[in-house]
């Protein structure tokens, strides 16, 4: 039981990074990033490649994953989404574009990294024992980095000038332009940060669960579940949704036959959204 709770927390913490990335891109750009899962997978593979093929230290792999994903985010905003938003007023355009980007990234990943499931040995060996619960050091390490990144991100959003500008854009784009914020530049920043966060999560979780090129869609679906549960575009909602899903998934996998868990999660989510369509923390935005 305690073991499952610990697993839930580790999972929830990393899911929070994924969900925050997705909700940030949605809030800033009004884009549903269907390529989010593929960005996660790319982050995982880059870390795998750095560690297992190039034999670099984990820190290098982690930083490489984040940097590459930030660049992927910036480039997709600059070259694809900004243009689509400018020439089309229909939201489907960016959704289709994101779906296309997902296919592109998935194909590229398959091309470069192959179709095999790739794992790696724990970053740190050893096991901690806390209150009778066994926590592998590698998992504790992943948890700590995810927690630090989460705190760092929330601090950035809450207390810095660019963070404030991103929050402002999420609430009112036009009025934020009237305060002197370059909306294009900050849209790119939001997209880069969102992609970087999911790349970070991909890098961290690849050291625990391994990664394969087909994983992206499943991760995207999980990310959307978290954001919908928590409330789209709300930071606290993304974190809440991530931990809810982390717990449901860990407990489900521990006590139920494998395929039942997500069936129940989906059913539960549908019922939940019927009664509270704006999610846990969602508010009708004024």
């Amino acid at each position: 039981m305690e073991q499952v709770i610990v697993n839930s927390l580790i999972l929830g913490m990393n899911y929070a990074l994924i969900a925050l990335g997705l909700t940030l891109i949605f809030a800033i750009m009004n884009v549903l990033n269907f390529a989010h899962g593929q960005m996660y997978v790319l982050g995982g593979f880059i870390t795998y490649y750095a560690l297992q093929v190039l034999h670099l230290p984990f820190v290098v792999g982690l930083v490489a994953s984040v940097v590459v994903l930030v660049l992927v985010g910036l480039l997709s905003e600059r070259l694809l989404f900004r243009r689509a938003i400018r020439v089309s007023t229909r939201e489907e355009s960016t959704m289709l574009l994101a779906a296309g980007l997902a296919l592109l990234l998935e194909s590229l990943i398959l091309l470069f990294f192959g179709e095999k499931q790739r794992g790696m040995p724990p970053i740190i060996s050893g096991v901690y024992q806390v209150f009778g619960v066994y926590i592998p050091a590698g998992r504790a390490f992943v948890f700590a980095i995810a927690l630090a990144s989460l705190i760092g991100f929330v601090t950035f959003m809450q207390f810095t000038r660019p963070g404030r500008a991103l929050r402002a854009i999420a609430q009112d784009k036009e009025v934020t332009a009237l305060q002197g914020v370059n909306i294009n530049r900050y849209g790119a920043l939001g997209f880069g940060l969102g992609a970087g966060l999911t790349g970070l999560a991909g890098s961290l979780l690849a050291t625990i669960f391994a990664v394969n090129s087909g994983l992206g869609t499943a991760v995207s679906i999980k990310a959307f579940i978290m954001v919908m549960l928590g409330g789209a575009g709300v930071v606290s909602g993304a974190i809440a949704g991530a931990f809810v899903l982390g717990f449901l998934e860990s407990f489900g996998y521990a006590y139920m036959p494998g395929s039942v868990t997500y069936m129940l999660i989906f059913a539960g989510m549908i019922i939940f959204l019927v009664f509270r369509p704006q999610g846990i923390m969602g508010k009708p935005w004024g």
Binding site: L178, G180, G286
Partner: protein
Amino acid sequence: MSSYFEARNLDVYYDKVKALSDVSMVLGEGDIVAIIGTNGAGKTTTLRAFTGLTRIATGEIWYQGKRIDQLNPDQIVGLGISMVPEGRHIYPLMNVRDNLLMGAFLRRDKAEVKRDLERMCERFPFLKERMRQQASTLSGGEQQMVAISRALMARPKLLLMDEPSLGLAPKVVREIARSILAINREDKVSVILVEQNSRMALKLSSRAYVLETGRVALEGASEELVNNEDVRRLYLGA
């Protein structure tokens, strides 16, 4: 010699619908100029054109000897033109302090920004206790004062105000009117005031423009417009 602020022969279209037609306006430094007219006359569109939110099809906009009609909104703010948008449009999910700090987004003089926060509290004393409060919890009048303070935090030289009295109680409207005069006289800010409350607008301004279906129907000194037969009948209900 060019004027402090001048719009020449503006045409604006929304898709194929013409919203402004041959609109020209002039504002001298330190003046308060009013734009009055009914709903849909083009008042807001005029201000949107001035701030770069809406692109003009033809015409020119000049500010301090510089042509600004091809600039983006954030560049225009940087030149010293700020806007108080219609319906206030404060950030509802931010606290009051962050709302005001957004107004100072382009400023790098942190110490001065801090002093300006205090000066806003002197002008609108309720701000002081509400700094950490979420802006959506404020009353309509308070939100309007936050919107005005946010615009002032940029230290503008020209302030565009879109319907600052809309939906407010008479007592609050008088307070807003007083603060517009104070901003103009004490802070030396020129003001373009868009109002449906024509009586208030004509009282505060030295010159005024009357817009009708996207055109300037009348212009002149506010004192004279107050006594104009048509203006009295159509806009002052007298």
